[in-house]
Symmetry: C2
């Protein structure tokens, strides 16, 4: 018998992928290996993605309001569709819950689910509600679509492409640190009020109620840009960049001073004694998009406040590095704080 930990989540994923036969249906354009599977759907491609969220692994109900959790679960699924440059059409949400939850708690959870469905313009079309002997379980599956000439895989970037990232990075991770600290304080003395002031509200919001970047999918279409490759930043920039480079057969250089990091993230990072660069690289749960464009396309994005160029791709797959102002280069390794969850897609 082999301990699962010796294989690790990435080894397990590879083992499952390697043993899975190639798709047999002519409708299946792409099976495992990207943010979503792809099927041939009339004029457009269909996209198909699924995510599983488990209490104690993906969320802690001590400080996660159920309404936000419902919203976040939908975000989790929709982000996979956005990462293929597509928009969601239908979603199912299945919930396993113990009878300790009152009806009002289920209402709250679904309020968040519906708010997200409205925000992302996706039809809630089904799902199971089932009893659970253990924690709260949420499973989300999404069908989306993308015009055939706009589909964007992870594996199609080339050397010299400009690496871009949306929004900012590391905030969700520091939001989690804040919430975890307040939980400790609360557990030690339940009369203490949480100290989550205004100047931290962005971090907490990024952790509790993140948004999938479907707005960027619209914007890229309006700008007439098809990225050469794209992936969503779920497990931290480092891990996603390594996926993109490995699958595209390229290396990359990113510049630490270019990483988009919010002021609140800087402040909280210093408070927790964490490097803001490390938080941006490995924090995870940002739900931003990492994508590449041809150098000649980049000027269309150059003054876009929602998109930052953080580096470029190189021809040597062995070199995925972080470059400092001083000219130092250090190899980037995947080192998510949470390596528990690995997508097979």
């Amino acid at each position: 018998m082999t301990d699962l930990n010796t294989l690790g989540p990435i080894g397990l994923r590879q083992r499952i992928q390697q043993n899975t036969p190639a798709p047999a249906h002519p409708e299946t354009v792409r099976g495992m290996g990207d943010d979503a599977a792809v099927f041939n759907w009339g004029n457009d491609y269909g996209l198909f993605a699924t995510e599983l969220l488990l209490e104690g692994i993906h969320f802690d109900l001590t400080y996660v309001p159920l309404k936000h959790l419902g919203y976040k679960a939908v975000t989790f699924g929709v982000s996979d569709i956005a990462a293929m440059n597509g928009l969601p059409v239908q979603i199912t949400v299945s919930v396993g819950l113990s009878s300790r939850f009152p009806v009002e708690a289920v209402d709250e959870l679904y309020e968040g689910i519906r708010a997200a469905c409205t925000a992302y313009n996706v039809d809630l079309v089904g799902g199971d509600t089932t009893a659970s002997r253990s924690g709260l379980t949420i499973s989300v599956s999404v069908i989306g679509k993308v015009p055939k000439d706009r589909i964007t895989y992870r594996s199609t970037a080339q050397a010299n492409d400009v690496l871009c990232v949306t929004g900012d990075l590391g905030a969700a991770y520091l939001g989690l640190q804040l919430l975890e600290r307040e939980k400790e304080v609360f557990l030690a003395d339940p009369n203490m009020q949480p100290n989550l002031s205004e100047e931290r509200s962005y971090l907490v919001q990024r952790q509790l109620r993140p948004d999938a970047r479907t707005d960027i999918v619209h914007e890229l279409r309006d700008l007439g840009i098809v990225p050469t490759a794209m992936i969503d930043v779920t497990d931290g920039l480092a891990s996603e960049l390594l996926h993109l480079c490995r699958q595209s057969g390229t290396g990359a250089v990113i510049f630490d001073e270019n990483l988009p990091i919010d002021d609140q993230t800087h402040l909280a990072a210093s408070e927790f004694g964490v490097s803001p660069i490390t938080a941006a690289l490995n924090g995870g749960e940002d739900y931003e998009l990492l994508f590449t464009v041809r150098p000649q396309e980049f000027e269309k994005l150059a003054n876009n406040a929602r998109i930052t160029a953080i580096g470029y791709l190189t021809a040597d797959p062995a070199q995925v590095v972080l470059a400092t102002k001083a000219g130092q280069q250090t190899p980037i390794r995947a080192q998510g704080w949470d390596e528990a969850s690995v997508s097979n897609q």
Copy 2:
């Protein structure tokens, strides 16, 4: 605060459905309310269904081999597609598992998943593998397709239609009773060997490794029959018949002597002191199809060994009854032994 148990699973499902807005996308042909959601997919309709299986609710690892569990999870999802008269195309399977599982256990689970994907001719295209703090969790989502003129809903049956069911009923429930009894014996004395002889193998197989009836979908097509309504028998015949009648606005008469019940089911029912009729009506997990055809269509099915006519639909929605040989009629009530799981679809 309202206790979930006061609402019950059906009340909870209705509450969620009522509060969910109607689909907004023109591609969404049908949202909640059937075995699968329906979307417009070029020449065919697309079907989209999801199921969530939780340890301790849907399966007991004491006696369920992981390979069979993987197979059954796929069956669970594919059966929803068959119930719409469709065939599966793509499937995702997400698994949450604790590190107590060795790698070989994951291999076994996936062996069953892949065997089922081959049997049902469906492409395994993705899914998550994630750590779990509690029990084993499996989430299955399936995309299928059906020609537009062959799609079959629950809600379109009419009075005088003939009620048909595939295969036989109640065997999976008695298989579960056998396994539960052997578990008790084993827990009392771990040296005891399980008493699962040949003459019970059918019951155990029906519980552990049931098949979804995609063969019937092919057969109906070959016979040139489109059922007027169809649903899969997951929670027991009674419960599914009530769904079909409520959604179609009809009543029904079924004949107890017509219910297809295997000899092994009869034997085990008598051994456990259970009425075989009750097992057939309320046992659940049979994964057979309950469907209706126009009376003039029925002769095409009359001598089909895989399909049994069990009654007919009537105009009065208040009358869903079981008729005995002696001429007695008793109202049918949904009384699944396991009411824990209710599909919103």
